[in-house]
C-alpha cells in the first residue's frame, strides 16, 4: 500500500508549520497535531538558505553526515584523564616567559576590556615582569608581550583566562587519542585575577598558589600513576546535581576526595596541607577549571575533520565571541560581538555594571554540559532566573541543534538522556536556536571581580559566518 493510501486509513497525524489556527481546527476535530516553533532559516538570509540547501544535496549531505559522525564519535569516545599538575612554562606548548594566554578568540591589548586588562597587568606584576600595574600596562602596550588565545595552545582559561609562565596547570590526557589539554588552577573566591582583580591580595594568592598549592597538587599526582578518570567523575557529578559550569559542589567534593590520599602522602607540612584543604573548601569552584580542561581535551580530538560542521570551540574574550568548527582546521575563528549575561547580581551591583560575556568556559557547553545539562542541576535554576521546567526545557531544546547524545554522561531527570553532543552549525542556522551558556558575570571595570551569574547566548553572526565559510569549503 502506498503512503498516500496509508494516510487515507485514519485521521491524519499532522505537523503544522506556520498559521497556528490550523492547529486549533485540527485539534477540534480530534486529529493529532504538533505545531512547530518555526522561524525562517538563517534569519531569512538568502546566502545562508542557499548554503543550507546545498548541504542538503544528497552527495554533500552524506559527506557531512559521515564527517560529523566521526567528529561526535571522537568527542564521545575521548577519555580524558587528569595525569598531573605543572607550571605552564614546563608543559604548555609554545609557552614563553613573556607569553600571556587569554580567553576567547585573538585580541590585541588595545581592544581588551577592563577585566582582561586588569588580569593581564596583574599577571605581569605576578611574573615580576613589571614592578606595578602602571608599568605593567606600559609593558603590555609595548609589543614585547606575546598575546595568544589559550585555545591556540591546547589550553582553556576561565573568565579572562589570563595564563602566564609560572602558573600551575592541570594536565589532562586523552587516553583514547593521546592529545593533552591544560588549564590553570581555580583562585576560588570572587576578587581574583581571572575576574580582572589585581591588587596585592590577588597577587599574594597567586604567589601562594605557585609556591605551595601548585607544588602540593603536582607532587600528589606524581604519587597517583593511574591518574583521575575525569569523564567518569563528570558523569558522577552530574548525577549529584551539578551541571559542572555554574554548580560545582559535587564535582569539587569528588575531585578533592580523589586527591586527598595523595596530598596526605606528600612531604609538605601539616599546616601547608591544611591550607590546601581550607583553600579548596573555601569555594565550590575548585573543580570548575578541571571540567573545562576535560571538555577541551575531548573536543580537540574532534577538531580538523574535513567536511564536518560540528562546533569544537565556543570562547569569548569579553569583546568578541568566537567559535571554531571541526571542518575548518587550525585556528580559524568565526566571531561576533560578545553578549550580555542575564542573571541575578550580587547585592549592590546593577546590570549596567556587568562586563560582556567572557571566558573559555563555554567549552563545557560545547561538550554538552553546563547550560546544556541544566536539567541535572535544579538547585541553580533560580540562580539563572528560571524554573525547573525551564531547566528541562533548555536540555531538551539543545537536542535540536546537536548531533547525538553522549551515552557516557547522562541526565537522570530526563530519563537518563545522554548529554546533547556535537553542536551542528547547520542546525543552529536552520533553527535559529542558539546554544545556551551558563556563566559568571565579571564587573566591566578592572580590579573588581565577579558580581553575578546567569545565562547567555552566542551571537548568531558567528554561526552564520561559519556556515558561509563551510559553504566555500565543502563541495
Amino acid at each position: 500500500m502506498s503512503k498516500i493510501n496509508e494516510l487515507f486509513k485514519g485521521k491524519p497525524n499532522v505537523i503544522n508549520v506556520g498559521i497556528e489556527s490550523f492547529k486549533e481546527d485540527l485539534a477540534k476535530q480530534g486529529a493529532e497535531v504538533i505545531h512547530l516553533e518555526w522561524t525562517p532559516p538563517g534569519r531569512g538570509n538568502h546566502a545562508l538558505i542557499a548554503a543550507l540547501d546545498k548541504f542538503e544535496n544528497p552527495a554533500i549531505m552524506q559527506k557531512i553526515e559521515e564527517a560529523n559522525k566521526l567528529a561526535v564519535e571522537r568527542i564521545i569516545n575521548s577519555h580524558p584523564i587528569l595525569i598531573g599538575y605543572d607550571q605552564a612554562i614546563n608543559c604548555v606548548p609554545g609557552m614563553t616567559k613573556k607569553t600571556i594566554l587569554h580567553a576567547g578568540p585573538p585580541i590585541t591589548w588595545e581592544k581588551m576590556n577592563g577585566p582582561m586588562k586588569g588580569a593581564v597587568t596583574g599577571a605581569l606584576v605576578f611574573e615580576g615582569l613589571a614592578k606595578d600595574l602602571e608599568e605593567a600596562a606600559e609593558l603590555a602596550a609595548s609589543g614585547e608581550i606575546t598575546f595568544a588565545p589559550c585555545h591556540e595552545h591546547n589550553c582553556v582559561g576561565s573568565m579572562a583566562g589570563v595564563t602566564s609562565a609560572s602558573m600551575f596547570m592541570h594536565i589532562v590526557e586523552n587516553k583514547t587519542y593521546g592529545n593533552i589539554a591544560y588549564t590553570n588552577l581555580s583562585e576560588q573566591l570572587a576578587k581574583i585575577l581571572r575576574m580582572g582583580a589585581n591588587d596585592q591580595s590577588v597577587i599574594d594568592r597567586l604567589i601562594w598558589m605557585r609556591d605551595v598549592f601548585g607544588p602540593i597538587l603536582r607532587d600528589a599526582m606524581k604519587l597517583n600513576p593511574e591518574g583521575i578518570d575525569l569523564r567518569l567523575m563528570l558523569a558522577q557529578a552530574l548525577h549529584m546535581g551539578d551541571e559542572c559550569h555554574n554548580r560545582n559542589v559535587a564535582g569539587t567534593t569528588l575531585l578533592i576526595q580523589a586527591l586527598t590520599p595523595y596530598i596526605l602522602q606528600t612531604d609538605y607540612t601539616i599546616e601547608q596541607k591544611k591550607e590546601v584543604f581550607d583553600f579548596v573548601a573555601s569555594s565550590d569552584y575548585f573543580s570548575g577549571p578541571t571540567w573545562m580542561a576535560m571538555a577541551k581535551c575531548a573536543l580537540d580530538a574532534a577538531h580538523g575533520i574535513e567536511n564536518s560542521t560540528i562546533v569544537t570551540t565556543m570562547a569569548r574574550n569579553g569583546v568578541e565571541f568566537g567559535i571554531r568548527v571541526s571542518g575548518m582546521p587550525g585556528n580559524t575563528w568565526f566571531t561576533g560581538p560578545a553578549q550580555k549575561v542575564v542573571g541575578p547580581m550580587f547585592a549592590g551591583y546593577k546590570p549596567e555594571d556587568s562586563g560582556l560575556d567572557i571566558g573559555d568556559s563555554a567549552i563545557t557547553e560545547t561538550y554538552g554540559f553546563g547550560g546544556f545539562a541544566m536539567a541535572t542541576a535544579p538547585a541553580i535554576v533560580a540562580l539563572v532566573g528560571g524554573t525547573v521546567e525551564d531547566a528541562i526545557g533548555f536540555s531538551t531544546k539543545m537536542k535540536e541543534i546537536t548531533t547525538t547524545q553522549n551515552p557516557n554522561v547522562t541526565i537522570p531527570l530526563l530519563d537518563f538522556m545522554g548529554l546533547p553532543t556535537g553542536i551542528d552549525v547547520r542546525k543552529v542556522v536552520q533553527t535559529g536556536i542558539m546554544p545556551v551558556i551558563n556563566t559568571a558575570i565579571a564587573h566591566k571595570e578592572a580590579g573588581i571581580g565577579m558580581i553575578g551569574a546567569g545565562i547567555t547566548y552566542p551571537p548568531v553572526e558567528a554561526f552564520e559566518k561559519a556556515m558561509l565559510a563551510l559553504n566555500e569549503n565543502i563541495h
Binding site: 500500500m1 502506498s2 503512503k3 498516500i4 493510501n5 496509508e6 494516510l7 487515507f8 486509513k9 485514519g10 485521521k11 491524519p12 497525524n13 499532522v14 505537523i15 503544522n16 508549520v17 506556520g18 498559521i19 489556527s21 490550523f22 481546527d25 485540527l26 485539534a27 477540534k28 476535530q29 480530534g30 486529529a31 493529532e32 497535531v33 504538533i34 512547530l36 516553533e37 518555526w38 522561524t39 525562517p40 532559516p41 531569512g44 538558505i49 543550507l52 540547501d53 542538503e56 521546567e389 531538551t396 531544546k397 537536542k399 535540536e400 542546525k427 536552520q430 533553527t431 535559529g432 536556536i433
Partner: protein
C-alpha cells in the same frame, strides 16, 4: 490573637488535596491555626462556635472555599496567605502534555512523533518550498497552503512526492479533507464513498457540500493547488490523486474539479480517466463536454450537477433526492420588481470558483460579463475599483488581498465594495457567497448584516428594489451554525440560494430581459 479569612469563590479541590493543603497550611511559620473547608452553613456554624467567624466567612457560600487563619500579627497573615496561595498554585502546574513540547524543525518533530504522516506548510512563500521538501524527505504527505512559490520548486516538489508515493497538495492549496478531517479551509461533511481531486479550493468545497446535502459523503478530498494543471506542472498531483483514489477501497466514485487544464495536461488527465476502473465525474468550469464524454468521463457543466452525478453513480436513488430546482415564481416576481434600468448583476465573491461559476452562468446569456479573473483579456475588469456592466469579482484574488487576510476571514474589502454597488441604480442584483467551515470567519453573514440592512433601506428610499442573493456554503456539521446563518439572511430580506449553481442561475435569470 487575630483571625483572618480568604475566600476562593467556586473553587473545588478534591478532599485529599484539601486535607494535605490544610496540613501544610498549619505548618506555615507564624500560623497558630489554619482551616480550609467548603463554606457551607454548617461549617460556618462550627467556625462561629470556635470563634473563627469573620465577615468574609459569613458571606461565603456553599460552593466557596474558605481559608481561615489564626495568627499573632498582620505581618504573619500576609506571609501565611502568600504561602497558602503558593500551595494552591503549585497544585495547578502539573506536567505538561505531549503537545506542549516544542520542536523547531520538521525533522525533530518527526523523530519524536514517528506516527506523523502529514505536514501543513503555511509559511512565507520564500521559505515554503524548503520546509515542504523537508517534510517529503521525512516521508510526510504535504499540504502547502503557502503561495508565491516558484513553478520550478513546485515541479521539483511534486516530482519528489511522486517518486516517494506521497501527496504534494499545493502550493496555494487551501482545501483538503483527509481521513474525515478538514484541513485549512474545508467543510465538515459526512464520510462516504466519493473522492474528490480539486485544483480549485472553493469549487471542491462546493462539490463536497452538495454531495453531503444529497445524502452522500466524502472519502478524501485532495487539493492539488491552482497551478497543477498548467502546462509546466503537467497535472502531476491530479494524476497521482486519481490513482490514489482508484487504489482506495472506500472510494467508489471520483470527482475532478478544476478550471479547464492546459491542452497537453487535459490529454493526460483524459487518458487517465479512460483507464480508471472507477467512474469519474469531471467538472472543468467551462470545460469541453465532448472530449470528456469521449474519454469515458461523466461531464458536469456546473457544481451541483457534478455532485448529483457523483451521488447517483455511487448508488443514490434519484427519486428520493431533492434536486432543488430553480424557483420559477420567485424569478418572475423579482423581474417585476426591478426597474428597466436595473440591468446588471454584481457578483461579489470570497470563493474564486463560486465567482467563476456565476460568471459562466451569466456568460451564456450575456456578452458583457466582466471579471478580475476572466480568462479572456477582453473581459478582464479595466479598473478593479470600478464595475462594468455585469461584473463578477473574486475578492480572494491577489490584487484584492494585498497585505490583508483572505475575504473568507476578513470581510472588510468586500463590505466596502458591496455598499458601492448597492448605490448604483443600474444594479439589479447583487450576489454574494458566505463560506462556512473550518478556517473561515465565525459569522460571515453577521458581518454583512448591518450593511445589507442599510443598503436595502437606501434603495427603498430611492424607490427601487435591490435584489440581493446570498449563498451560504456550508453544512449543519460545520463549526458555525449553518441554519442560523441562513436565517439571518432571510430575516434581512436576502434571497437565499441553495447552491452555488443556483446562485449563479438565479442572478442571471433575475435580470434577463425580454424572454
Amino acid at each position: 490573637m487575630l483571625v483572618q479569612a480568604l475566600i476562593k469563590p467556586n473553587t473545588y479541590f478534591d478532599s485529599v488535596s484539601l486535607m494535605s493543603l490544610s496540613t501544610k497550611a498549619n505548618q506555615i511559620d507564624g500560623v497558630e491555626q489554619a482551616i480550609i473547608a467548603m463554606g457551607t452553613e454548617m461549617n460556618k456554624e462550627v467556625m462561629k462556635n470556635v470563634g473563627l467567624m469573620t465577615p468574609e466567612v459569613e458571606e461565603a457560600g456553599a460552593s466557596d472555599l474558605i481559608i481561615v487563619v489564626k495568627a499573632e500579627t498582620e505581618e504573619l497573615f500576609e506571609n501565611a496567605f502568600l504561602s497558602i496561595n503558593e500551595l494552591f498554585t503549585k497544585r495547578d502546574s502539573g506536567k505538561k502534555g505531549k503537545s506542549d513540547i516544542k520542536y523547531s524543525t520538521i525533522s525533530s518533530a518527526v523523530e519524536n512523533n514517528p506516527d506523523a504522516n502529514l505536514a501543513i506548510i503555511a509559511v512565507n512563500g520564500a521559505y515554503a518550498a524548503r520546509e515542504a521538501r523537508k517534510a517529503l524527505e521525512n516521508n510526510l504527505n504535504v499540504m502547502m497552503f503557502s503561495d508565491n512559490v516558484s513553478v520550478e520548486d513546485e515541479i521539483a516538489l511534486k516530482n519528489l512526492a511522486h517518486e516517494k508515493g506521497l501527496l504534494m497538495m499545493g502550493p496555494d492549496c487551501g482545501t483538503a479533507i483527509i481521513g474525515n478531517t478538514a484541513l485549512c479551509f474545508a467543510n465538515a461533511v459526512r464520510k462516504g464513498d466519493i473522492g474528490i481531486v480539486g485544483a480549485s479550493g472553493t469549487g471542491s468545497q462546493e462539490v463536497s457540500v452538495r454531495i453531503h446535502e444529497f445524502g452522500g459523503g466524502i472519502t478524501q478530498l485532495i487539493g492539488t493547488g491552482g497551478r497543477d494543471l498548467k502546462e509546466e506542472v503537467g497535472g502531476i498531483m491530479m494524476l497521482d490523486g486519481i490513482q490514489a483514489l482508484e487504489d482506495d477501497e472506500e472510494t467508489k466514485v471520483i470527482v475532478l474539479v478544476s478550471k479547464p487544464p492546459a491542452p497537453s495536461v487535459e490529454e493526460k488527465v483524459l487518458a487517465k480517466i479512460k483507464t480508471c476502473k472507477k467512474p469519474v465525474v469531471v467538472w472543468f468550469i467551462g470545460g469541453d463536454e465532448e472530449k470528456i464524454t469521449a474519454a469515458g468521463g461523466h461531464f458536469a457543466k456546473m457544481s451541483k450537477e457534478a455532485a448529483l452525478k457523483a451521488v447517483l453513480l455511487a448508488g443514490a436513488d434519484e427519486s428520493k433526492l431533492n434536486k432543488r430546482a430553480l424557483n420559477i415564481p420567485l424569478i418572475e416576481d423579482v423581474r417585476t420588481k426591478l426597474k428597466p434600468e436595473q440591468r446588471y448583476i454584481r457578483g461579489l465573491f470570497s470563493g474564486g470558483t463560486l465567482c467563476d461559476e456565476a460568471m459562466h452562468a451569466a456568460m451564456e446569456k450575456f456578452d458583457n460579463a466582466y471579471s478580475n479573473i476572466a480568462r479572456n483579456p477582453e473581459y478582464r475588469l479595466k479598473d478593479r475599483y470600478t464595475s462594468q456592466e455585469h461584473t463578477f469579482i473574486d475578492f480572494g484574488d491577489d490584487e484584492y488581498t494585498q497585505g490583508k487576510p483572505h475575504p473568507m476571514i476578513d470581510p472588510s474589502t468586500r463590505l466596502d465594495r458591496f455598499m458601492q454597488e448597492a448605490k448604483d441604480p443600474s444594479v439589479g442584483v447583487i450576489v454574494m457567497d458566505f463560506v462556512l467551515g473550518y478556517g473561515a470567519h465565525e459569522d460571515p453573514v453577521g458581518a454583512f448584516l448591518p450593511a445589507i440592512m442599510e443598503a436595502k433601506l437606501l434603495a427603498e428610499q430611492e424607490g427601487r428594489h435591490l435584489e440581493i442573493i446570498g449563498y451560504v456554503l456550508g453544512t449543519e456539521l460545520d463549526p458555525q451554525d449553518y441554519e442560523e446563518q441562513i436565517n439571518k439572511l432571510l430575516a434581512a430580506g436576502v434571497t437565499h440560494a441553495s447552491s452555488s449553481q443556483n446562485a449563479g442561475l438565479l442572478a442571471r435569470e433575475f435580470v434577463v430581459k425580454g424572454e
